[in-house]
């Protein structure tokens, strides 16, 4: 749970190499990979083929490995795979019970698709700095939302650290059956943190969201091309 919370935090934390890419690539690459992964959910009766999302997942891992480093990616993936493994097991179980999907291929395919969506969203958060997220939301006319999202993303790792501490304390204090008891201290902690954040915002304000650099270099182009190819291949493979 302790390391899990930390790994979960890293899924949504800006990577150190994010500054090496332009904003266009940071937005286009994850979205290009996200569209083919999400589309089958929106199309009724879409066919399930594991090879389609597998192509996306492979490319996403390559990009994340470049941006965040292999070590961090493997940590993130192990966490995502854990959750998906549970989902897959439940799906298989419901299949056995006659209430779920018809065959394992179907389950594997949709599980991979979900993994590809999580990785694409994680890529978006790891590539964009909080300032860039704010800039984009402001450009979309969502000024208020841009401020809320900035603060939420900024404080997410801190909240997850508190979650991990409160869980250990509650489990040892009340036994494993009452893990739900952590909700109360976490709510109080969140209120305290939000007050402190309000104080900090009063004194520092939010840094402006300066117009980000659209293109940084050739890497941007390679990554976008790669995403387009992966996305197209995933749509074509049988």
């Amino acid at each position: 749970m302790v390391s899990g919370a930390r790994d979960l935090a890293y899924l949504f934390v800006t990577s150190g190499r994010a500054g090496e890419l332009g904003s266009v690539a940071k937005v286009v690459v994850p979205l290009t990979l996200l569209v083919p992964a999400v589309a089958p959910y929106l199309v009724p009766g879409a066919e399930a083929r594991p090879s389609q999302p597998a192509v996306l997942v492979v490319y996403e891992l390559l990009v994340l490995g470049y941006v965040a480093g292999v070590r961090r990616v493997s940590r993130m993936v192990s966490l995502v795979v854990l959750f998906l493994g549970i989902a897959l097991a439940l799906s298989m179980l419901s299949s056995v019970l006659g209430t779920g999907p018809p065959d394992p291929t179907y389950s594997v395919s949709w599980t991979l698709r979900l993994l590809s969506i999580v990785l694409a969203l994680s890529m978006l958060f790891q590539l964009l700095t909080v300032g860039e997220v704010r800039y984009l939301l402001m450009r979309l006319g969502l000024r208020w939302l841009s401020e809320v999202v900035s603060v939420a993303i900024a404080q997410l790792p801190v909240v997850l650290i508190s979650f991990s501490e409160a869980t250990v304390a509650a489990v040892l204090k009340l036994g494993g059956r009452r893990v739900s008891a952590v909700v109360k201290p976490l709510v109080v902690d969140a209120v305290v943190i939000s007050r402190q954040v309000a104080e900090a915002l009063y004194l520092h304000g939010l840094p402006p969201a300066p117009r980000p650099k659209l293109i940084e270099g050739a890497t941007d182009v390679y990554l976008i091309l790669g995403a387009l190819i992966a996305s197209s291949v995933s749509a074509l493979v049988v």
């Binding site: 070590r71 900024a154 404080q155 040892l172 204090k173 109360k184 109080v188 943190i193 004194l203 520092h204």
Partner: protein, 498 residues
């Protein structure tokens, strides 16, 4: 000691901050928290304000920055002048450029995760691209944080985080820099970092106002020292302070001895050749670590921030499994986290006891026993009071009472940095409480100065993932400091500021 109104640091310069007969209260508080505070702070002056927990230090900070009125909706009387201009007449941007605060929880100062991005975007916001980059480079060099710029703020140690927060505050080039409890949660190295940062701020001509109850390490820095008591500031002359320091001897405040009533040779906890790391691709946090804890004894694990103390507690509690080696716990373990309020799960003190007793299938007797412990430890609170409203010192002792009350048979209490948020007197009070109960404790600390409080304990230093027993108790600073607190009239308050 006398009420402060007319301190002149440079004689001719105008004060950077002037507070005149300041009164403040929160919207729902019955009385005034501040009652006629007067203060003048000049460029390049370092002023230290000390006071008990709940004496109103943070409230004073909120009042002089406008946070008290604008964020908390409090009522303010009197005058606050920043650079000679009344606070209420200044636009927000001017306030920010006049006064900057590093608060108790510096995590909240950061928006960008990567430290360098955060500081640079602030500098660019203030000065534009070209000048912003120059100011950024100058401040980060002055505070020697170049090596931290690529790190994420939540990965930094307490000392590093505060140094970076001071750098962010200095980017604004404020006239006044306020530090709220800057030494909280810091190890000895972190304290040195903060002291260095204060030196830099002073050398840049900033007026520095420090609120701190762990004040001994800052006395030599301060040009003026104040005690906040009963809502007012009282200036302490350096001569008087020196005289008091010479005169105080830890007469009544000798280190509390363990009661010994339940001390046996029976080991409750055995850790043998324990190795632990969070991930196979990471370095070991604990390496070939061995520890034996007998019933009724106190074991102290001393180590710097990030040395693995909290991890060690989680491993020996059985919550984390060692990668190699063996941990044998022959009793229950209860973990009291560093952020004490994360321990509490119920809305009242009474319910804390009821729920923990019920979780162990114990009846009313267990709750009654808890009440007895609470009285025994001198925590005089309303049982319907929310534990989240207690002062830090009261909360730590309540946690100890809750954990002890529900112990059927031996229990090992794992206390993660319990002394950190406490005044010197409260530290002594907690150490005495633990000794009185005579339980089995494993306590972590990152400050050498707290070791004197637990002189009967076995002390181990955790460094490089291994434990090494320390022989001989270091100086008696905290005991003298506790005596000094008494001499200065800094008692133990029983509430929180807001």
């Amino acid at each position: 000691m006398h009420g402060s109104t007319t301190f002149s640091f440079t004689g001719t310069e105008a004060p950077s901050l002037e507070v005149v007969d300041l009164w403040f209260k929160y919207p729902r508080s019955s009385g005034w928290v501040l009652r006629g505070v007067n203060l003048r702070l000049y460029p390049g002056e370092v002023a230290l304000v000390i006071g008990a927990s709940g004496s109103g230090k943070t409230t004073l900070l909120r009042a002089i920055t406008g946070v008290g009125v604008w964020i908390y909706g409090g009522e303010l009387r009197g005058r606050v002048l920043l650079g000679g201009a009344p606070l209420e007449e200044l636009p927000l941007d001017k306030i920010r450029r006049s006064i900057q605060v590093v608060n108790q929880n510096p995590y909240t100062h950061f928006i960008e995760h990567v430290v360098g991005y955060d500081l640079l975007s602030t500098a660019v916001q203030l000065y534009g691209e070209k000048l912003g980059r120059r100011v950024f480079a100058r401040v980060t060099t002055a505070l020697k944080i170049e090596g931290l710029l690529g790190r994420r703020f939540f990965e930094l140690s307490g000392g590093q985080l505060r140094r970076v927060a001071v750098a962010k505050a200095l980017l604004w080039d404020p006239e006044v820099l306020v530090l709220d409890e800057p030494l909280m949660w810091l190890d000895d190295e972190g304290v040195a970092d903060v002291v260095e940062a204060i030196h830099v701020a002073r050398s840049l001509g900033k007026a520095v106002l420090i609120f701190e109850h762990r004040f001994m390490r800052l006395l030599h820095l301060a040009d003026s020292i104040y005690v906040l008591r009963e809502g007012a500031l009282h200036r302490v002359e350096h001569d008087l302070l020196k005289k008091l320091q010479r005169s105080v001897r830890p007469r009544g405040s000798h280190p509390p001895e363990g009661s010994g009533s339940r001390t046996t040779d029976r080991p409750l906890l055995l850790a043998e050749d324990v190795w632990f790391r969070y991930d196979r691709r990471e370095d070991w946090v604990l390496r070939s670590l061995s520890l034996e804890v007998s019933e009724g004894t106190t074991t102290v694990v001393y180590g710097g921030n990030g040395s693995g103390k909290s991890t060690l507690l989680k491993v020996i509690s059985g919550y984390l499994k060692p990668n190699r080696g063996r941990v044998e716990l022959r009793s229950r373990a209860v973990y009291v986290p560093q952020n004490i309020y994360l321990f509490f799960t119920e809305e009242s003190v009474l319910k804390e006891f009821e729920v923990v007793c019920r979780s162990r299938n114990l009846g009313r007797q267990c709750v009654e026993r808890g009440m007895d412990y609470l009285r025994y430890l001198g925590v005089g609170v309303d049982l319907e009071e929310s534990p989240f409203n207690l002062s830090w010192g009261q909360a730590v002792r309540l946690a100890v009472a809750v954990a002890t009350a529900a112990s059927v048979g031996p229990t090992v209490l794992l206390l993660d940095e319990p002394f950190t948020g406490l005044t010197y007197l409260e530290r002594l009070q907690l150490a005495t409480s633990l000794a009185k109960l005579g339980g089995t404790y494993v306590i972590t600390t990152s400050n050498e100065e707290t070791l004197a409080l637990v002189s009967s304990a076995k002390v181990f230093k955790l460094a490089g993932g291994t434990l090494e027993e320390l022989r001989g108790i270091p100086g008696r600073d905290p005991l003298e400091a506790a005596e000094l607190c008494k001499a200065l009239g800094i008692g133990v308050n029983h509430g929180v500021g807001s």
